[in-house]
Amino acid sequence: MTARDGVLIVGGGLAAARTALALRALGHSGPLRLLSEERDPPYDRPPLSKAVLLGTAGPDSIGLLSAAEAAEQGIELLLGRPAAGLDIAARRVALADGDTLRYDVLVIATGARPRRLAALGDRAGVHHLRTLADAQTLRAALLEHPRVAVVGGGFIGLEVAAAARTLRCAVTVLEAAAAPLATVLGAELGALVCAWHEEHGVAVRCGVPVRAARGNGRVEAVELADGSAVAADVVIAGLGVEPAVGWIGPQALEQHRGVVVDEHGRTSATGIYALGDAACRHTGGRCVPGGHWTGTNEQALRVAAAIVGRPDERPPGDGSYFWSDQHDTRLQFAGQVPPGARVTYEAGSVADRAFLATCRVPGDSAPCAVFAMGAPRAFVRRRLEVAAVTRAGATAATGSR
């Protein structure tokens, strides 16, 4: 690889920052640029739905790659400049402001955008949460103790609901499926999580989709498909994300749930890699979408290793591990829960909301998933024992994308 145009990483979050740092750690010494649409240097997103809303973390404590560290590592940060197009033949990225950047190697790490529900419209008081700016705006709104409706009971929606409740807002979670997190955790564990939120004073309404928002200019209520309405001054849409790959153009690279990559992050075009929320891994006939912190962390190391010509030949993890901190309790999960899987409570007490559970497909002795609420030590131990859970390839069954 020539050192002329170097490596261009398009993106400004965890995937981008960790790939840049990994390249330097592996000894890559050529030009290395990071092009981000955000004005803030790369920062960690998990705290945005927790500590940043609660006011216990801010821009200074969640950074992943400061301007100073980037300068020290010879990583050129180009901030506040969105990418607008990709010319593969010319090895060029077009920027929204009209400039172009040439590359020898391109890494697509542009993450994802919050899914928007057309039914909610553009009224003031409707929030999406993806960036630090979104989190700061939302926190300011929550400090007024508004009535809050969270549309979508995924783990981000539930974290926001828990934080809003801690900030003494009245909170209702509106989940179209039968239970929050049901697609990921299965019906039984999903129902448990639902009950636990209700114990903390969060109202949870399941099974009825949102039809519209009401209010002139400002949101006043959310209307459900059964005609009922929930009064709300602040509405947070927690409906998952869509890969932010519109700037690439649909014909340029093979795409599915984002840019399709192999286990080394290689796309269908030579010299172009992708990882994180912007990519989905296709191996062994399965699709593993992005979306979790530890998985993205691992991918960054693998992409950097592939770029410097020393690909990591160990099989990757399945990327299914995630944690979610709600109401001062940690939920942890790894694996998949197919319909019909049965839950076994292995340790702790469900009534005390501190327990470990495994899920099994009837007929299998090995668990297909491990779940813990308020039992981090037990989770880590059990997960170590169940090596098959962390090694199995995941399917595209999760509905959160």
């Binding site: 912190w293 962390n297 691992e298 940690r330 030590r377 880590v380």
Partner: protein, 76 residues
């Protein structure tokens, strides 16, 4: 030798370090990370670095020194 230092205030018990290197890390009864040994041989450097890297709260720091030397420079 590698010294492993865990910030017990920053640690929130995610346990990623245990998953990376169960021979080097554990969670104590409060669910906070502990290094099984505070100084380990250089052959563990890759594993320790991965644990540092995978910690969501950036609560692990490592220092390197020659055997018998106290302290050392930060390498991670």
């Amino acid at each position: 030798m590698i010294e492993i230092r865990i910030d017990r205030t920053g640690c929130q018990g995610y346990g990623n370090c245990v998953l990376v290197a169960p021979e080097l890390f554990d969670l104590d009864a409060d669910g906070i990370a502990v290094a099984r040994l505070e100084r380990v041989g250089d052959e563990h450097l890759d594993a320790v670095r991965k644990a540092v890297y995978d910690c969501p709260t950036h609560s692990i720091a490592i220092g390197q020194s020659a055997p018998g030397e106290p302290g050392g420079s930060d390498v991670g």
